[in-house]
């Protein structure tokens, strides 16, 4: 595995791409460009102690000395990160955790809801670069510029659905899944998913019912991001004990964890 390092990084670009959502491009001197889709980083928000803790963000894309992130403003920390300007500098600790493992010969279907797109975007880019075929189902409340961007980037591979029917199917991502699978030619499927907890539960149950392997990426409040505080515990399924989202995850096989 890649050694975890704390990169003193510089903002190369930061663009508002949707209501409250920024695309942040960082320069990380010394970063060798290696990370797995699903891995994340801990961003140090500022130099004073308010806020004190770093904030976890999925790697959206990366290459030698570069990383990109999608930052949605939901509170104090994310707002401060989203408002960073070109040439601002801060620390990025990573890459952290365990990402998606794509070693099967099954056809990957990526199911994302809302900001859950971030790690799956990276996965899709990786699959593209490996010239692998795959599909993305992206669910959102309502047609959005972020949806546009996903469609524009991954083109025909993307099925957009909206809760309110303002674009594509009027459905949730999971709701659209069943019909989608019936209509494709691939029979051996693997599901990769990230999104709100309710969605991850549905996907997990769907996988069990249809005997399709599912990998999910979880979110939990984090203290350290490196497995030492036990703040981000998640219960094991069918056996006792806990796993940490930050070190054992954030990506788990659906049968590993009880959510």
């Amino acid at each position: 595995m890649n050694k975890i390092r704390d990169y003193y990084s510089t903002v190369v670009n930061n663009t508002l791409i949707d209501n409250n959502i920024y695309l942040l491009e960082m320069f990380l001197p010394g970063f060798n460009g290696m990370a797995e889709p699903g891995q994340f980083v801990m961003i140090k928000v500022n130099e004073t102690y308010d806020p004190f803790l770093r904030r976890p963000y999925s790697i959206l894309e990366c290459s030698k000395e570069k990383m990109k992130f999608l930052i949605k403003i939901v509170g104090k920390g994310s707002k401060m990160i989203a408002h960073k300007k070109m040439n601002d500098k801060f620390n990025i600790l990573g890459p952290l955790g365990v990402g998606f493992r794509v070693n099967s010969n099954r056809y990957p279907v990526l199911v994302a809801g809302g900001m859950g797109i971030a790690p799956l975007w990276f996965l899709a880019k990786r699959l593209n670069s490996q010239k692998k075929k795959f599909s993305i189902i992206y669910g959102e409340r309502s047609a959005s510029p972020l949806g546009d961007k996903i469609k524009k980037t991954f083109k025909k591979k993307v099925l957009l659905v909206t809760d309110d029917g303002s674009r594509g199917l009027k459905s949730t991502a999971t709701g659209a899944l069943s019909a989608f699978l019936d209509n494709i030619t691939y029979k051996k499927i693997v599901l990769f998913s990230c999104g709100p907890p309710g969605m991850l539960k549905e996907i997990t149950n769907f996988g069990i019912k249809r005997k399709i392997p599912v990998s999910i990426s979880l979110e939990e409040r984090m203290g350290c991001g490196i497995g030492v505080c036990l703040g981000c515990s998640v219960k094991r399924k069918n056996t006792d004990g806990f796993l940490t989202v930050c070190k054992d995850g954030p990506v788990f096989r659906a049968e590993e964890v009880s959510i």
Partner: protein, 303 residues
């Protein structure tokens, strides 16, 4: 100039006074992938209990102004797992290993000390965890219970015995004295301050365990006061802890009377915080022309 940073607790020698606080550094194994932890004076393990504990429901961490509320609830895999999985690995680390132990009864503390006796370098007796229903802070808030636990552990081990106090009491100095009188070789403090944080939209505590313990820079002035109070009231070494995030913080604790310090939450913000603090201390002493750290311990007093 070479600065002398060594210090002792009872017979145990520390190459420097920087330790990592229980529950904020795991067992050191994961941390060792990030930096060379044998540089440190010692590490204190996550508190070990006899049986495994699941801990409290998530969320377990809530941020407050310059502080962290946690309600982990002593999640750990229990002493058997510690022996089979962890001990073989951490014994390879070239630094002092201090086992933090936590029980629900004085006998549990005794058994933990008895079983671990030969395998670690010292004990830190956690009678101050605010996040468990039984044991924990309830021992540390009652002088008689404090006495009973310390006595019991003392009976079972001859290793250096550190008692970790809670600041959630009227007169913390009484607890220091009581521990010393019953065989403690050092006092460490503070454990976290009991706190609460509410999500006003959901009308619920931000923590799954409802209340939590506050740590981080927010508590530093309170912890420093508690350490100063204790240091004047006992004749054994005091280990200062609470919000130490940079080397100046550490120096403040030494000047208030701490012989060693523990770095806690700062590790969450900077994984190598303990190492930077150690380097900062060394630098400060060099710059100020102080040859031995003992020269600054307890130098301040009422104006």
């Amino acid at each position: 100039m070479k600065v002398d940073l060594t210090t002792n607790i009872g017979s145990l020698k520390f190459k420097n006074p920087v330790l990592t606080a229980s529950g904020t550094f795991g067992y050191g194994l994961l941390m060792n992938e990030i930096f060379e932890i044998s540089e440190l004076g010692g590490i204190i393990t996550k508190s070990i209990t006899l049986s495994k504990r699941e801990g409290n429901p998530v969320p377990r961490i809530a941020e407050t102004a310059c502080g962290i509320l946690n309600s982990i609830g002593l999640e750990n895999k229990g002493i058997d797992n510690f022996f089979s999985e962890i001990l073989p690995e951490i014994r390879k680390l070239k630094t002092n290993i201090i086992a933090s132990i936590a029980g629900e009864t004085e006998h549990e503390y005794g058994s933990l000390a008895e079983r671990l006796d030969k395998y670690v370098n010292a004990f830190e007796v956690n009678i101050s965890c605010p996040n468990v229903k039984k044991g924990g802070m309830s021992f540390g808030q009652d002088l008689t219970s404090t006495k009973r636990v310390v006595k019991k552990v003392r009976e079972k081990t001859s290793l250096p015995l550190i008692v970790k106090l809670t600041p959630n009491v009227t007169k913390v100095e009484d607890f220091g004295k009581m521990s010393e009188d019953n065989g403690a070789n050092a006092i460490s403090l503070v454990n976290t301050y009991k706190g609460l944080s509410i999500d006003v939209k959901r009308r619920k505590s931000k923590l799954g365990g409802f209340t939590g313990g506050l740590s981080g820079p927010a508590i530093k002035p309170l912890a420093l006061y508690a350490v100063w109070k204790i240091a004047r009231n006992v004749n054994i070494p005091v280990i200062g802890c609470g919000g130490i995030s940079d080397f100046t913080d550490a120096i403040e604790f030494f000047m208030a009377g701490a012989s060693l310090i523990e770095v806690g939450s700062a590790t969450f913000r900077d994984p190598d915080a303990s190492l930077s603090i150690l380097e900062g201390i060394r630098n400060f002493l060099e710059t100020e022309g102080i040859k031995n750290i003992k020269e600054i311990i307890g130098v301040i007093d009422e104006n």
